[in-house]
């Protein structure tokens, strides 16, 4: 596992939104590595900074008040944050691409499917229209869509949600990117279609060797899809590690809480476990550990001082004072 090359390395990333009502710290001091050919799951509840992490990697803050204030995003030895907008545009869609959450609104309603998928080809490859269309038809066939030849001439409203998500996947993969960021690609779909889409992504990944960052709030999806996992809470990473290890032995009380709130088959319970309390208001963040007010195992130090990361080797880290037997990372 560890001998594989890191294709993407995020170091101490902080992304803030400068709104009229003050600064919103959407991502705070986040670090992770994505290994070549592997899938990293980023889990967390709404507002924990998962999507903003994706947007930071893509550099898609135009029209918002968001800005990466600190950190490095190293892709193939280059820090993406030091590149010009024009250079980043050359990477978007070609080396790193993204699938969005809502297939219903992510396609331009007035452009034909074929035109939208060929957008990336036209932008990044020096090929003619007919050759671009051939590639479009090929990638659409790979996604398992029926009657591909007529779909390229259809408009998004003629397709169902699941079909649109397949089109989105085709759009993102048409230039064979090295990294695919999937931002909750199955959240808006019903369960059977979800399974099909996950299956499709897994197949395409195996074929092309693309590394995937899979953003989701479903631990079930993580268990099914990912090699590594990163648990986020309040803009921070709480726990990282290999999926098997994390599921077998979650180190952080927050991860344990998440696990406990998944309903289990064959187990009759009166009431599902929920983590008590709410996500703290970003404007009144607790002083110490951000999870301490909701944590059943909180100690005095948790309310006083924010824990650093404790490393247990093999990518296993946890931001919790209970894990202070591990090696402390700065």
């Amino acid at each position: 596992m560890t001998d594989r090359k890191n294709i993407l390395e995020v170091k101490n990333l902080s992304t803030y939104f400068f709104t009229d009502n003050g600064v919103v710290r959407a991502v705070e001091n986040l670090s992770f590595k994505l290994q070549e050919g592997s899938t990293l799951g980023i889990v967390g509840e709404s507002g924990s900074g998962k999507s903003v992490t994706a947007l930071s990697i893509m550099g898609l803050f135009k029209g918002t008040t968001g800005r990466v204030v600190e950190g490095e995003i190293i892709f193939e030895g280059k820090d993406l944050l030091k590149l010009s907008e024009e250079e980043r545009r050359g990477i978007r869609g070609k080396d790193i691409s993204m699938i969005f959450q809502e297939p219903m609104t992510s396609l331009n309603p007035v452009l034909k499917i074929g035109e939208q998928i060929s957008e990336a080809i036209i932008e990044h490859q020096n090929v003619g229209k007919s050759e671009a269309m051939e590639q479009v038809v090929q990638i659409l066939k790979d996604t398992g869509l029926p009657r591909v030849e007529s779909i390229v001439n259809e408009y998004p409203f003629q397709l169902s949600g699941g079909q649109r998500q397949r089109v989105m996947i085709a759009m993102a993969l048409v230039c064979r990117p090295k990294i695919l960021i999937a931002d909750e690609p199955t959240t808006a779909l019903d369960v059977t279609i979800q399974a099909q889409i996950l299956d499709l992504m897994r197949r395409l990944k195996e074929r092309s060797g693309t590394s995937i960052i899979f953003i989701t709030h479903s631990l079930g999806v993580v268990a099914e899809m990912c090699d590594e996992v990163l648990v986020m809470y309040c803009s921070r990473a709480m726990e990282t590690g290999n999926v098997k290890d994390v599921f077998k032995d979650p180190l952080h009380p927050y991860t344990r809480g998440l696990m406990a709130s998944i309903p289990k088959l064959g187990e009759r319970v009166e009431e599902l476990y929920t983590i008590p309390g709410n996500v703290p208001n970003p404007r009144f963040m607790p002083k110490g550990c951000k999870f301490a007010p909701r944590c059943s195992e909180a100690m005095d130090i948790c309310h006083e001082e924010e824990p650093p990361f404790f490393d247990f080797g093999g990518g296993r880290t946890s931001r919790c004072w209970l894990c202070s037997n591990g090696r402390e990372v700065k």
């Binding site: 007035v110 452009l111 993102a172």
Partner: protein, 295 residues
Amino acid sequence: MEKTALMNQAESGDIRTPFSVFWKKFKKQKTGVVAAVFFVILVFVAIFCYQLAPYGINEYDYSSVMQPPSAKHWFGTDEFGRDLFSRVLCGTRISLSVGFLSVTIVAIVGSFIGLFSGYIGGWFDTIIMSLSDVLYAFPGLILAIAIVAILGPGLTNVVIAIIVFRIPIFARIVRGNTLNLKNSVYIQAARSLGASPARILFVHILPGALPSVIVQYSISISGSIMTSASLSFLGMGAKAPTPEWGLLLSNARIYIFTSLHYAMFPGLAIFLTVLCFNLLGDALRSALDPKLSEM
């Protein structure tokens, strides 16, 4: 073989392009269809008016001045014995030319201003929109009179005046659409594929703003025909002997109590043309408005 519901759906699915959806909705509006037919006739008349006119527009006949409508002169004659039917017919070309020319230029210029203003935003947007607010604050006709007063009378200057006072209308509409569209998910998705700003502006945003532009285009044509007729009526537009409708009305004004036909037919021509474009605009709005459209 019997047609199943599914087959029907598949068949109708094949022809459901945005245009066919538009056409289906447009067809339902009877007044719109009537206006569209009248519009086609207007354009035909404008193109072939000199071939259609039974008399020359400046064919003087002092033996039959101020004749009421008859089989020989359908709309009667004017104070110089010219055939009013021929003159009103040929006025169509002038009015439609002024209308289309001015509004086409306005639509293009105004749309671009709105597009850039909305997309770039910030100080650029503030300055452009403040300027357009200043222009917008003037009553249209007064501003047009002021511009013609500065530039001098004549149809070319009327066109310029119309362009100037209508630019803010298009700029605002397109800016609003641009602001709305530029933060939509599909624009972000296009950006995530590496689309260039030019491509985002012209391939993704502009077509989204087009329906509102088309509706405003049609409504603006009637407005600009009115303005040009008004300016000619006031002696600031077309000069005699041009058979401009406004000018014809102006000439007919002193004869209104003795020869009603002279004022009535040019007036009717203006009335019907303006009505046609307004109804057409309404029908287009109902057919194109994304808020009214089914998903």
